[in-house]
Structure formats: C-alpha cells, structure tokens
C-alpha cells in the first residue's frame, strides 16, 4: 500500500495534476495533460523512484494506472 501511495504521488507530479483524485482504474493516457512531454517526465520519475524504465512499446499495452503499477512490479 505504501508503494501504491508513492506511485500515485509520482503520477501526479509527472502529469502536474496534484489536485486530481486518482483511482487505479484511471485511464491516464486519456488525460488532457498526457502528451509526449508528460511521457518523458513520467519515464524519468519512474526511473528515479522505482528504478525501472518503461519503453514506448510497453506504453502501447498499458492503459490504466493499475496496469502501469503491475508492469513496474513485474520489472523489479
């Protein structure tokens, strides 16, 4: 749970959506804040905080925050 809280914080920081309430079912690529610059920021934040890198091809198959979270877990 601690890890999930940290994950949500990283997402909010990367996408600059600190005020938004996020559930793990959220389809983050549908946010208006999601673009190539946000993707870069997110990649850097995930590398820094969880020591994983997410390839462009991985993002294609990841839709919800839960799926992204599961992907990070599987890489560790």
């Amino acid at each position: 749970m601690v890890m999930e809280t940290k994950f949500i914080k990283v997402i909010k920081d990367a996408l600059e959506i600190e005020d938004k309430n996020l559930s793990m079912n959220e389809k983050f690529k549908e946010f208006e804040e999601w673009d190539s610059l946000a993707q870069l920021t997110l990649i850097a934040e995930l590398d820094e905080n969880f020591d994983v890198t997410i390839q462009t091809s991985d993002f294609k198959n990841i839709n919800t925050l839960q799926e992204l979270f599961d992907h990070i877990q599987s890489q560790k």
């Binding site: 190539s36 993707q39 390839q55």
Partner: protein
C-alpha cells in the same frame, strides 16, 4: 569490449564556428501556437539556435574554425598530415568532404584524409581514431573537423524534432607530445535500435523518389514530415541514454582507474536540458562541473561536445584539467573518454 588507451597524445587547441543567423525558439511559431512552443522550450531549455543560410555547409563552418585555429596557434600547415572530417551532413555523396577540405585548407597532397559518418557520438569516436593514428608516431599534427547542419535534417512541421537542432562546426588540433598524459576511450554500438533516430529515404536502401519527398501526417498528434526528414522516438532515446550512459561512464572511469571526484569538467552531448539535467542528477554530478551550451546553440549532434568546450570553458582550461567526454545518439552509437587537457588553447567562437 572496445576500451582503448593512449599515451602522450593530446588536443592542443579547439576552435568553433557557427552561422550568424540566430533562431529564437519562442518566436519560431509559424507552424505551432506560441503557448505550445513555450511549453516545449521550457522542457528542452533550448532558447536559441544557429541556422546555416542556404548554401552554407558543415564544411564551410569547419573550414572557418580550422583557419581560425591554425592562425591563432600559428601552425605550419605542412606539419598537418592527417585530417578527419566527422559529419552526417556532408557536401556531396561523393567525393568525401575531407578530401575537398584538404585542398581548401592548402594542406599537402601527402595528407591522409577520410570522412567518419556517425552522429552524436562522433566527436569522441573521431578523437579515438585520430589519437590512434597519431600515437603510431608518424604524424606530426592532425586536424579533427566536425560539422553539422542538422537544422536541414528535420521538418519544421514535426514538433517532436523542430525545436531541438542547430548548426555548427569545430576544429581540434591533435599532436603527440610527452606533456600529454594517458587518455581512455570506451566505444559502443547497438544497431538493434537503428530505428529510434532515422532518415528513412534518400540513401540506397530507399532511394529518393516523388513519394519520399511527399509531406504526410506521421502520428496521432498531427505532426507532418517526409521520409527524407529525420524522425526520432524521443521517449525511447531517453530510455536508452539513462540505461547505457551511466554504465559507460562507470566503465571508462574504471579503465582509467579514477572516479567522479577527480574531474574538473564533465562534457556531455547536448541533447536537451531535460535529458542532460536528468543524466547529471542520476550520476550525482555537481552542476558547476557540467558545462552546457544548450540554451544558446541547442542540439548540434556531434558538434555539441566541442562547441560546449569552446563556448563555455574559454579561460578555464589553464594548466592540467581532467575532463570526461560522453557522446550518445543516432545508431545507436555512444562513446566516452577520460582525458587530461594540458593548457588546451580555445579560440573565440567565429560567426559566419
């Protein structure tokens, strides 16, 4: 593992030339709204770039830099016995630009010259080749010329690449002398990532055709390009850099038997402020030892390392300075070096 080591070979001076034509990124708004452009500039940190006007080539910038360096250092041209020209924007498909530069610079017909076609790693790769030839002992002085007109490679209607690249040319004079210490290089390649940065057409695999020069929408964001313009997957290039470069730097430092604390400067390929900033943070480097020319010249591919040295370190290289150089990009190709600069001469930047 391509770890090379040289002794008593060094760079005695560096010069750079850039086009006078200055492009202000925030005013480069003919194809995109100013607000979008401002957001991109905030991320890339590239406020200005230099664009070569029509008719000006990489070789012209290198020629100007070489003449400046030769004149400042009062070099006897007959002592220059090797010239290597590094670029992916040559004058012609043939002959090699280096050969034409031999004549333009008035070098002897007994000068050994050739071109080396790599991108962002090419200055470091080029240095390793020149050091190797100079160490053989038969060459008195060598010129490494490195120029790019990347502004012409990318389509201004493709926002993924339209705000990054600029033009420039440099000259480095390399010689053998006991005053220079040991230099270490680590040289690498990964062709499986060849598609990450690519110009698809215009070579011999996909020759130029009416189709290859046609503008088309290339992604879901509506970016427009042609098969003869460069494309780049910025996110995966970023992934590549943060995975490979820290490892390569550790490798070359280990080979050199040194560590981060020993260095005066870390000079990286200038990709963009976001990538370079993250790389410096990941490597835990003190920012005052990481010079940057991203703000004023942008990404000039292989030229960016020496252009950063010439534009940012003039007056700061007296005596012996230990530097780490690391170039990475198209190929993918990457190279790092550990060297001591010994009273390295830096000429004023020439504007053409």
């Amino acid at each position: 593992m391509a770890l090379l080591q040289f002794d008593q070979v060094g760079i005695c001076g560096l010069a750079a030339a850039v086009p006078a034509q200055t492009i202000l990124s925030r005013e480069y708004t003919q194809y995109f709204p100013a607000a979008d452009v401002a957001e991109i500039v905030a991320k890339t940190g590239i406020e200005e770039r230099r664009f070569a006007p029509e008719g000006m080539c990489s070789s012209d910038l290198c020629f100007a830099a070489a003449e400046k360096l030769i004149s400042d250092l009062d070099v006897d041209k007959s002592e220059i016995e090797l010239l290597v020209f590094v670029s992916q924007t040559p004058d012609y498909r043939m002959p090699a630009t280096s050969v034409l530069l031999q004549d333009r610079l008035g070098l002897s017909k007994q000068t050994m010259v050739f071109d080396l076609t790599l991108g962002c790693s090419a200055f470091v790769y080029g240095l390793s080749v020149v050091f190797s030839l100079v160490q053989s002992g038969q060459i008195k002085k060598a010129l490494l010329l490195d120029g790019e007109t990347r502004s012409r490679v990318y389509n201004p209607k493709d926002r993924r690449v339209a705000f990054l690249f600029g033009d420039g040319g440099v000259a480095a004079l390399i010689e053998k002398d006991p005053k220079y210490g040991k230099t270490f290089f680590s040289l690498n390649s990964d062709g499986s990532k060849g598609d990450l940065i690519k110009i698809k057409a215009g070579g011999y695999r996909n020759p130029s055709s009416a189709e290859s020069v046609k503008e088309k929408v290339v992604d879901v964001h509506g970016n427009i390009s042609t098969d003869e313009h460069g494309s780049m997957d910025g996110a995966d290039v970023f992934n590549f850099v943060i995975q490979e470069i820290p490892n390569d730097i550790a490798r070359v430092m280990e080979a050199a038997g040194t560590d981060k604390k020993a260095f005066d400067y870390f000079v990286f390929h200038q990709a963009n402020a976001f990538m370079n900033g993250y790389l410096a943070k990941k490597l835990k480097l003190p920012l005052e030892k990481v010079p940057s020319s991203i703000r004023e010249f942008g990404n000039t591919s292989s030229v960016s390392i020496p252009l950063t040295i010439v534009s940012q370190l003039q007056g700061k290289l007296e005596g012996k300075k230990k530097v780490l150089l690391s170039g990475f990009g198209v190929g993918m190709s990457w190279a790092s070096a550990v060297m001591d600069l010994q009273d390295c001469w830096i000429s004023d930047v020439v504007e053409l």
